[in-house]
């Protein structure tokens, strides 16, 4: 038995690297990321281009074909993901590891009804009758707190609001009962008022099902209030890992900079400090 299987973790990542070949040379989007995940909520925070999304996609196996993924360990529940044949890797997707994308306006197929898209996930991974699949899809829509599941089932994505679309997305990704959910900026495209509703639904479902969650976001405050642990990424590297409750004690200057950028109620700081980047953070 290998090390990853013995650790009992849901996910073990050691020295993950994702490299894109370009005309001007190789670009390393992810440069040696390591972390482990149990059945907990882990937040990955970083700015655009910090490699947080590519880390999520590498775990899913959705890295673009021209890119190269390397890792000392990339193991899900003891399975070496990089050694897995593509067919088995695909069978994991949607069934055991699922992913929620940013904007339901683009991540749902515009010409297929919401119900059919949910059923499609289920019937890809389980042999169920059409009637049973429909029943379970309706239950799932109810579970993401859609009030009138039967109506929404037959609607097309453009006919529902962003919040409703993202709930449908969650339903679509949860219906096959995954153990690990990667949520890539799941609320960034939503109105602030809807964000918290959707997060609450996600949080409840993840807790109920005892799933692991990787929550990718650029919003440090959101992540710290929502997750158990936070990984801070900068330029393709993990610069700091800490418990969400201990965020105020962050030591890395980048994390500190991010925290200081946020206005606090009652504090009068004009202008807000601007992050002063240091070249050595990227080393």
């Amino acid at each position: 038995m290998n090390k990853a299987a013995m650790s009992g973790n849901l996910l073990d990542i050691e020295d993950l690297r994702v490299t894109f070949p370009t005309r001007t040379g190789r670009i390393e989007a992810v440069r040696g990321v390591s972390f482990a995940l149990g059945r907990e909520r882990l937040g990955i925070v970083g700015e655009s281009g910090s490699g947080k999304s590519q880390t999520g996609r590498a775990i899913m196996g959705l890295t673009p074909p021209q890119a190269e993924v390397l890792a000392k360990t990339l193991a899900f529940d003891g399975l070496d993901l990089l050694a897995l044949p593509p067919r088995e890797r695909r069978a994991l997707r949607g069934k055991r590891i699922a992913m929620i994308l940013q904007d339901p306006k683009y991540s749902l197929d515009p010409v297929m009804t919401i119900g059919r898209q949910i059923i499609e996930t289920l019937r890809t991974h389980e042999r169920v009758t059409k009637a049973e699949a429909r029943e379970r899809a309706l239950d799932m829509l109810a579970a993401v707190q859609i009030r009138d599941p039967k109506r929404v089932f037959d609607l097309h994505p453009h006919e529902v609001s962003g919040g409703m679309g993202q709930r449908a997305m969650i339903a679509m990704m949860l219906i096959a009962g995954p153990e690990l959910m990667i949520a890539d900026e799941p609320t960034s495209a939503l109105d602030v008022t809807v964000q918290l509703d959707v997060l609450a639904i996600l949080d409840r479902l993840v807790a109920e099902r005892g799933m692991g969650l990787i929550f990718i976001s650029h919003d440090l405050r959101l992540v710290s209030s929502f997750c158990d642990r936070v990984v801070v990424m900068y330029a393709g590297k993990v610069v700091e890992q800490l418990k969400a409750s201990e965020l105020s004690r962050a030591e890395h200057p980048y994390t500190r900079g991010l925290l200081d950028c946020m206005p606090k109620i009652g504090a009068d700081r004009h202008p807000l400090p601007v992050l002063q980047r240091q070249a050595e953070w990227a080393q």
Binding site: A91, G94, P110, V111, H158
Partner: protein, 354 residues
């Protein structure tokens, strides 16, 4: 009646109203476009320096006969009145008599147009059935050898003149190999034993069970059909490739992969289903283009279609036939466009009438 039923009933009648409104607008657009078409053809007929009286009588008729004929043809009336008469006649399918064939133009068109439709349909079928899979293949395997191949096939189809390729094909398949039949639609042997019903010879001969005729018709249509098919394939595969590349880069494709769907399912069930929406317009336009634009093909293959008919009429200053043919082609063009719009609405739920 419960509240739910009432609501459902109200929604039902609302939808019926919306559909009726949609059809009404649809017909209005068709009528307006058709009126425009009539106006253009009418004024072309009046502006060109061909005197219809001269075309009928020749240049040696006495002045009095010319004057009388001019009156009989209604050419002395005010222009607006002439236009009115023209519209009424056109709506009744009366485009006058062809000078060249001495038949009513409409009867001529009824004879020649099915030949063009049959050829264009064969061409479009070939172009669609082969062009879409090739375009999909090129998009999915972007940058591969298969992609290069499809692109070269498309480029050649785009840039080579059809009459040149047609002549080469005739030299090879008719003169050298003798695989195909030529000229026209059917051998002279069958011309008198075979009575077409719809005018589509492939269909007629198959329905009548005359398989020897069917084979002969097939041997006649296969080469011009394949050539038109190739040109339509070039266009359709190119457009399919570009639409598919666009769809495959969309986020819903990533989501579909995250669901664990197979690539086959993603390509044919999601991406192509989305690309089909603009493809409908492309195929419809290519079909309409073949209907009006296969003049060169018809000339090379002596195909007795509407392109050849109009060309012959034009060379003989037979304006009734030219304008009648133009109006019929224009009407079909309008119909195909409206039909593709309708199909577009059916395929894309975002354009549904609410």
């Amino acid at each position: 009646m419960s509240a739910v039923e009432q609501q459902a009933g109200a929604r039902g009648s609302g939808r019926a109203l919306a559909i009726a409104g949609g059809i009404g607008r649809f017909l209005l657009i068709a009528a307006t476009t058709y009126l425009g078409l009539l106006a253009v053809t009418f004024f072309i007929g009046r502006v060109i320096p061909i005197d219809p009286v001269l075309a009928v009588l020749g240049d040696r008729a006495p002045e009095s006969v010319v004057e009388r004929t001019r009156r009989e043809m209604g050419l002395d009336l005010p222009l607006i009145e002439q236009f009115w008469i023209y519209i009424k006649a056109a709506l009744n399918g009366d485009f006058g008599t062809s000078v060249l064939t001495t038949n009513p133009v409409m009867a001529d068109i009824r004879r020649v147009f099915p030949a063009t439709i049959e050829l264009a349909t064969v061409g479009t079928l070939i172009g669609t059935v082969l062009g879409i899979p090739l375009g999909v293949l090129a998009a999915v395997k972007r940058g591969s050898l298969a992609d290069q191949f499809v692109r070269v096939v498309g480029l050649v189809g785009y840039s080579v003149p059809i009459f040149w390729l047609a002549l080469l094909a005739l030299v090879l398949f008719y003169a050298k190999l003798q695989w195909v039949a030529f000229p026209g639609r059917i051998d002279i042997v069958y011309q008198y034993t075979f009575t077409p019903v719809t005018g589509f010879y492939l269909l007629d001969s198959a329905l009548q069970g005359q398989w020897d005729v069917f084979w002969d018709v097939f041997r006649h249509i296969v080469l011009p059909g394949a050539l038109l098919g190739y040109f339509s394939l070039a266009y359709i595969s190119r457009m399919t490739r570009s639409f598919m590349l666009n769809e495959l880069s969309q986020e819903y494709v990533v989501a579909a992969r995250a669901k664990g769907l197979s690539e086959t399912r993603i390509i044919w069930g999601h991406a192509l289903r989305n690309a089909a929406v603009p493809m409908v317009t492309v195929i419809a336009l290519s079909y309409a283009g073949l209907l009006e634009g296969s003049v060169l093909t018809e000339t090379v293959f002596s195909w007795p279609g509407i392109g050849l008919y109009i060309t012959d009429s034009l060379q003989n200053a037979d304006m009734n036939a030219v304008l009648g043919g133009t109006i019929v082609i224009g009407s079909v063009f309008i119909a195909i466009n409206l039909f593709s719009d309708l199909l577009y609405k059916l395929l894309d739920p975002r354009t549904k009438v609410r």
